[in-house]
């Protein structure tokens, strides 16, 4: 098995996808659909958004043609791997009631087909680890997530072009991946088309690389990959260490800034839906018309909804400011208490997809520095 980096051109990438499909994997990767980059079925590298780059700012997202024909020049879109491991809706159980009132319970046993995701970004790899800790590392395990996780094959790609909302470096991650992949690619753009430097992270990844046409990566190629990584990190120069600053948010629960943000926030929940680590779910029971069967469904929920904190007299978090506080403090601060690490990876989705452009980088920095 290959231990040292290999290199290949797009044709070998196609062979890799074909082999995965042959092995029974559903293969998905980033594609340009409805003017956003989302994960969708991928046949060959030609399906990737070639020559497309993105512009992301608080509340803004657009795609543009770039001056070079790279495959992976657009950063993360609204979807993350979460959509495929922790789906927005999944069945928990079915209960049927017989004529004599007896209940029989059938737990849903997920048996998903193997899934290969191409082009997973370093931030999303870290997000996966965080969801692992929440959904399979505690006293109980979410069976749907665990089953999906077991059948996952990951071809990750380092970022050459962070978007305007990326801040992984301020959270101590990225823009290159260190673990959590089967294969890791760095794209080296060139006039004759891109080349890829590939490293195996698992035996399965190594076997796959052995099965396609590759060469040993040259010192020049490795040097170029390192330069690209350094340039990408430079693009995200962070003034504030948000990983550290975030831990202090829970000391500022009384700040008047929460109410002030509450005036801008619409409580639309976009940030929690697009967040690759937000895991919260609601459990909903529905019955058949004749009331003989009842199904429990697990659906994504968000701490921005009023029902999320409902108790007898009404929601505990009635004001939008208090819901924003729950989101930000949980993500950056109390997640450490609950799971031993930050809940944020710095992917920037919550900034891009916030319709009013609230920027967590700015809010974390100013609230953690405030005087309360």
């Amino acid at each position: 098995m290959y231990r040292s980096p290999r290199s290949f051109a797009a044709a070998s990438g196609n062979a890799m996808l074909a082999l995965l499909a042959e092995q029974g994997f559903e293969v998905i990767g980033p594609r340009r659909i409805d003017e956003a980059i989302v994960y969708a079925p991928l046949g060959t590298f030609d399906d990737l958004p070639i020559g497309v780059t993105d512009r992301q700012m608080p509340g803004r997202y657009s795609l543009h043609d770039s001056d070079r024909r790279s495959y992976f020049d657009a950063a993360v879109g609204p979807h993350s791997v979460k959509h495929h491991l922790h789906p927005s809706s999944s069945t928990v159980w079915d209960i049927t009631r017989s004529d004599d009132g007896a209940l029989s319970i059938e737990m849903h046993r997920p048996e998903p087909a193997p899934l290969a995701v191409i082009g997973v970004r370093p931030c999303d790899l870290v997000a996966l680890e965080k969801q692992d800790r929440v959904l399979m590392g505690g006293p109980h395990i979410n069976p749907v997530y665990a089953a999906n996780r077991r059948r996952l094959f990951i071809v990750a790609v380092n970022c050459n072009h962070p978007s305007g909302t990326c801040f992984c470096t301020a959270m101590g991650n990225g823009p290159t991946a260190v673990r959590g992949f089967d294969i890791l690619l760095t794209e080296l753009p060139g006039d004759e088309g891109s080349e890829f430097v590939a490293t195996a992270g698992t035996d399965a990844g190594g076997r796959l690389l052995e099965s396609i046409d590759t060469d040993a990566a040259t010192p020049e190629q490795l040097e170029r990959a390192a330069e690209l990584a350094a340039a990408a990190a430079d693009e995200m120069r962070a003034e504030v260490d948000l990983l550290e600053a975030g831990t202090h948010l829970k000391e500022h629960l009384d700040s008047e800034m929460w109410a002030e943000i509450g005036e801008r926030c619409l409580a639309c929940a976009n940030c929690t839906m697009s967040c690759p680590t937000c895991f919260c779910t609601d459990l909903i029971d529905t019955t058949s018309i004749a009331s003989v069967s009842s199904r429990r469904t697990r659906v994504w929920d968000s701490c921005f909804t009023g029902s999320f904190s409902h108790m007898g007299p009404g929601p505990v978090r009635g004001s939008i400011g208090s819901r924003y506080r729950q989101w930000l403090v949980h993500k950056f601060s109390t997640w450490h208490d609950q799971f031993g690490e930050s809940g944020c990876v710095g992917c920037g989705r919550c900034i891009t997809w916030c319709p009013v452009g609230i920027d967590v980088r700015r809010e974390v920095a100013r609230i953690s520095r405030s005087g309360t």
Partner: protein, 294 residues
């Protein structure tokens, strides 16, 4: 590449999908007891003929009404009486109404038990003081019985009970027996009605001169269950008497959906109530007490 299972990045979870605490178990309602105008105790046994699982005081079951949903409910029976479980339920909405209205012989489902119990196994003697406000006595009933069973472990046992009106007192016919078995039981109500001859006021008023003088507060362990403001005001009085917050325990209540630390609903600041509670040590949550809308 061969056909061996390909990716194994996370923890190996094979076989874990059968986690029995995630699977609801049908129970028959074998008896019902009206406690107050809106509180009823259901006595239940597993439909499969087996025994209900053992549990610790203050642990909860996720009790389900077919097609309506599940509510977190404290097991109010005694830990050593395992022929059945009891749940003492207040009508609060669709689920609790459906559960209370389940006929005798009808079926409910239960998952659990879940949660951190009152720390009765870890106490180093001294006095034990228990405060229950309103329905808050339900999660305390098992620990009161346990303390009575081990009465000689404690120098003093106090049970201080409060409710809005005498009509809202639950387990009222048991107080005399608790007192006889060695607990000092005191009861107070906010508003009287005709047959009430006892004191009127709020629970902290039960800490009158005599009680304050009699209890050895330095060795005291205190367990409190009731609405958040009641637990806060009682705790404030106690710390004034010299009780360290690390010797005071509360039960927290937040919206609960899963009971399994998976749905995120029951967070209270750093705490996931179904995993780290419902019983929490006051020293651990002190910075968060009294913060609005947390």
């Amino acid at each position: 590449m061969n056909a061996a299972p390909i990716a194994q990045p996370g923890r190996d979870t094979s076989g874990t999908t059968l986690d029995s605490l995630l699977v609801p178990r049908p129970y028959h309602v074998i008896a019902k007891r009206l406690e107050t105008h809106d509180v009823t105790t259901l006595h239940v046994v597993p439909c499969d003929g087996g025994r209900p699982p053992s549990f610790k005081p203050a642990q909860v079951g996720m009790v389900g009404a077919f097609g309506v949903g599940e509510a977190a409910l404290s097991i109010s029976s005694e830990v050593h009486q395992l022929s059945q479980h009891s749940y003492t339920i207040r009508r609060a909405g669709p689920i609790t109404n459906a559960l209370i209205d389940t006929p005798i012989g009808g079926t409910v489902t239960v998952r659990g038990p879940f949660g951190r119990p009152w720390p009765i196994d870890d106490l180093d003697g001294g006095s034990l003081v228990i405060f229950g406000g309103g329905l808050g006595l339900a999660p305390l009933r098992a620990v009161i019985h346990e303390a009575l069973r081990r009465r000689s472990d404690f120098t003093d046992l106090r049970v201080l009970i409060g409710a809005r009106t005498p009509r809202d007192l639950i387990f009222r016919d048991e107080y005399a027996a608790w007192d006889e078995r060695g607990a000092h039981v005191a009861v107070i109500v906010d508003n009287r009605d005709d047959d009430w001859a006892g004191p009127i006021g709020m629970i902290p008023d039960l800490l009158d001169d005599q009680t304050r003088a009699e209890v050895d507060w330095v060795t005291a362990h205190v367990m409190i269950c009731g609405p958040d403001p009641m637990m806060a005001s009682v705790s404030k009085r106690l710390t004034g008497l010299g009780v360290e917050t690390s010797r005071i325990w509360w039960t927290m209540e937040r919206n609960m959906q899963c009971g399994n630390a998976l749905c995120g609903h029951c967070q209270f600041g750093p705490i996931i109530v179904c995993r780290d509670g419902p019983v929490v040590n006051l020293a651990d949550i002190e910075p968060y007490v009294g913060i609005e809308e947390l």
